[in-house]
């Protein structure tokens, strides 16, 4: 369903014959992929996202749990080069907050304090961290600090506990994006396993798998996900919950992939080169791995890429409902849990930033998958 979504550019009408002759399928695919500019951009965005969230400890100025008690629900800061009076600084800076709790409205009102100038420092020492729980460090990509060692920067604002939204978005991305990857790994495994068996062996195995796929595809997934995540034991650590949620998300997601794999297998079974391989007496495994695998690997990867968004959106929804990932681990969904109603949003709209990143990541995966599909399929111009 979701794989048929995206743009496929017009087939290239004519290649000069000699060029075609000398390109391996992989080179051909790469050529086609490069031509899909949006997909290329998406790939770059995703790589950056995975890099930044992978090294979250370094890129995030603060830890997920660090609080700035003086800045509860503080709005995003502007990074500036010019002071209010027009003085130019080569080094960008932010103004510190002035907090005033309005006696009438109980609102925390923040204003920029022109006295508090906190210049941005790159590759500077800040909070200590343990990268992947292995390497200790305190160098951050950037922090804001004046010469007295004071300063803070929250350029996406802070949440109701005074935690830096930007940092939390980065850490949340680590969970949400990795759940996408991990979930898809599992999905891939299940899909190839079931689809492969069904397609290659056929017969009653095929029929059973087909039926399973049909059943799973006709289930409304979210309620089932809800049922399963709600059943995760209370005493599990956040990390185990994380894996539990991942497994649950991929439990229902493998069907599209299995269908595709099965279809490819069925088609390939009868294709000349496989029959040829069979005729010259290649063993079954050899047939599968040497001849059939490479041929549909590209499709599988494409389908998998297009399935990542489903997993990310699933995690986000469950966590938003408070039954997915549990604090202290944060994900994009967990971050948006606070935004349960529109008036909270109207007071602190910046707590929706994680949503923006969800949209960007999902869009990037969709476009990338689309580009991959076109690239993987140089000869098949039309059809699904």
């Amino acid at each position: 369903m979701s794989e048929a979504v995206l743009e496929r550019p017009q087939p290239i009408a004519l290649e000069t014959p000699d060029e075609l002759n000398f390109l391996t399928p992989r080179q051909l695919a790469w050529r086609r992929f490069k031509r899909h500019r949006l997909a290329l951009i998406s790939a770059v965005i995703l790589i950056v996202m995975y890099l930044v969230t992978g090294f979250a400890e370094f890129f995030a100025p603060y830890a997920t749990t660090s609080r700035n008690v003086g800045a509860i629900n503080a709005p995003p800061m502007n990074v500036r080069f010019f002071e209010h009076d027009g003085t130019f600084h080569l080094r960008p800076f932010v103004y510190g907050y002035d907090l005033h709790i309005n006696e009438q409205t109980w609102a925390r009102e923040y204003s920029e304090n022109p006295e508090k100038i906190y210049p941005l420092r790159f590759f500077a020492r800040g909070e200590t961290y343990e990268l992947w729980n292995l390497f200790e460090g305190d160098i951050h990509f950037f922090i804001a600090e004046n010469d007295e060692g004071d300063g803070y920067i929250h350029f996406l604002g802070t949440d109701q506990l005074g935690r830096d939204v930007f940092s939390r978005v980065i850490y949340g991305g680590r969970i949400s994006l990795s759940i996408g990857m991990l979930g898809i790994g599992l999905t891939l495994f299940l899909g190839v396993l079931f689809g492969g068996f069904a397609g290659y062996l056929g017969g009653w195995i095929d029929r059973i798998v087909q039926r399973m796929i049909e059943v799973l595809q006709s289930l409304p997934t979210l309620p089932l996900w809800m049922a399963l995540t709600a059943a995760l034991p209370a005493h599990w650590s956040s990390l185990r919950i994380y894996f539990g949620v991942t497994i649950i998300l991929s439990l229902f997601g493998w069907t599209a992939l299995a269908r595709q794999v099965r279809g490819r297998f069925l088609a390939l079974r009868n294709e000349d080169f496989v029959i040829a391989a069979r005729l010259i007496g290649s063993g079954q495994n050899r047939i599968i791995f040497k001849h059939m695998m490479p041929s549909f690997l590209s499709h599988t990867i494409t389908t998998a890429t297009l399935a990542v968004p489903g997993v990310i959106l699933g995690e986000t929804a469950l966590s938003f409902l408070g039954i997915g990932i549990r604090p202290p681990i944060v994900s994009w969904g967990v971050l948006m849990e606070q935004a349960q109603n529109y008036q909270v949003i109207s007071m602190t709209p910046w707590i929706l930033y994680p949503g923006l990143f969800v949209v960007i990541a999902v869009m990037a995966f969709n476009i990338l998958g689309d580009g991959l599909r076109d690239a993987a399929d140089p000869y098949n111009m039309g059809g699904q």
């Binding site: 995206l6 595809q217 309620p223 809800m226 968004p309 039954i323």
Partner: protein, 327 residues
């Protein structure tokens, strides 16, 4: 056609049987059951329940039987319309679910209608005017729509309705009708508000179907029979509507069937955000409280809704595409 309908119905029953097993397993997963919790409460208040009492209690809920018999009992009662007893509400599940399910259905249907009304014209436009500014615009909007989580969209819609118009759009009825008995004006009020959840729920699906329609249409536009028709002298507008669209709409119909699970999932979460009196919130509550009959009934009824929806979409498809019904 009749043969196809019967065959398709048979498949549906089989599918539902499988689903009921899955649902049963899922609701059995959390530890504890209604009897253990009753006993715990009794013991907590210092009562020693006699073995006989426990056995009676277990027998009443069929918990003394092996699991497969429990399942059969559950499904047998379910088919007869006895959905069991919700112990968090101390009420038969029947009293709790139907009104909510009705609203779920209403919203899902409006989402389907929204999907059609938006996806068909824009999909056609996008395909026929491929690579035009309009096509790019629609493509971008669809991409964003596809990538935005339902609940976020619901929140944003509520937020902007509040920020720009100062109206609060939670609930299915506007303020003045909330307390009124059901009437024709109230029905209109309901319909006039339905488009909000309908469009929010349908957004992702609309994006998907629009892109599918566009891709199908583009594929079909280059097919030989279109050229044949053109060579016959059929004029452009009629050409698109009579031939490629007619064929492109078929996978589109089946897509709508496949979309139903997504729509119902989306409805569950959107209604929670928009505070609609549908299944979402109560299901969540039932799940968290491990109220298994209530949760199981909701899961099962939602699945039935989906499967029947898919059946309808398949029948429509068969009606629309002769190749299927002649298979």
């Amino acid at each position: 056609m009749l043969h196809y309908v019967i065959k398709r119905m048979g498949t549906m029953v089989l599918t539902l049987a499988f689903i009921s097993v899955i649902v049963f397993v899922v609701i059995q997963l959390p530890p504890g059951d209604i009897v253990t919790s009753t006993l715990e409460r009794m013991e907590a208040s210092g009562m020693q329940a006699s073995d006989e009492y426990v056995q009676n209690l277990r027998a009443r809920y069929n918990l003394d039987k092996p699991l497969y018999l429990q399942y059969l009992n559950w499904i047998f009662n379910f088919v007869q319309g006895d959905l069991g007893y919700s112990y968090i509400y101390s009420k038969p599940v029947n009293e709790l679910v139907w009104e909510r399910l009705g609203y779920t259905l209403l919203i899902t249907i409006s989402a389907v209608i929204f999907t059609w009304v938006v996806a068909v014209p824009f999909g056609i436009y996008s395909a026929v005017r491929q690579y035009s500014i309009g096509d790019y615009f629609i493509t971008v909007v669809a991409l964003i729509g596809l990538a935005t989580p339902n609940f976020l969209l619901a929140l944003l819609v509520m937020f902007f309705a509040w920020e720009w118009f100062g109206i609060s759009i939670g609930g299915l009825y506007s303020m003045e009708f909330r307390d009124q008995p059901f009437s024709i004006p109230k029905l209109f009020d309901l319909l006039s508000r339905l488009w909000i959840p309908g469009s929010v729920v349908g957004m992702g699906g609309t994006a998907v179907t629009m892109r599918i329609l566009r891709a199908n249409l583009l594929d079909e536009l280059n097919k030989p029979y279109v050229v044949t028709a053109r060579a016959k002298g059929v004029k452009p507008i009629k050409l698109i509507f009579k031939y490629p669209l007619r064929i492109a709409i078929n996978p589109f119909i089946s897509t709508l069937g496949l979309l139903l699970p997504t729509l119902i999932s989306g409805e569950a979460i959107v209604s929670m955000v928009l505070n609609l009196p549908t299944t979402g919130r109560m299901l969540l509550q039932a799940l968290l409280a491990q109220d298994m009959y209530l949760a199981g009934s909701f899961l099962m009824l939602l699945a039935i809704l989906t499967v029947v929806g898919m059946l309808i979409s398949d029948l429509v498809l068969a009606w629309s595409d002769p190749r299927i019904r002649y298979e």
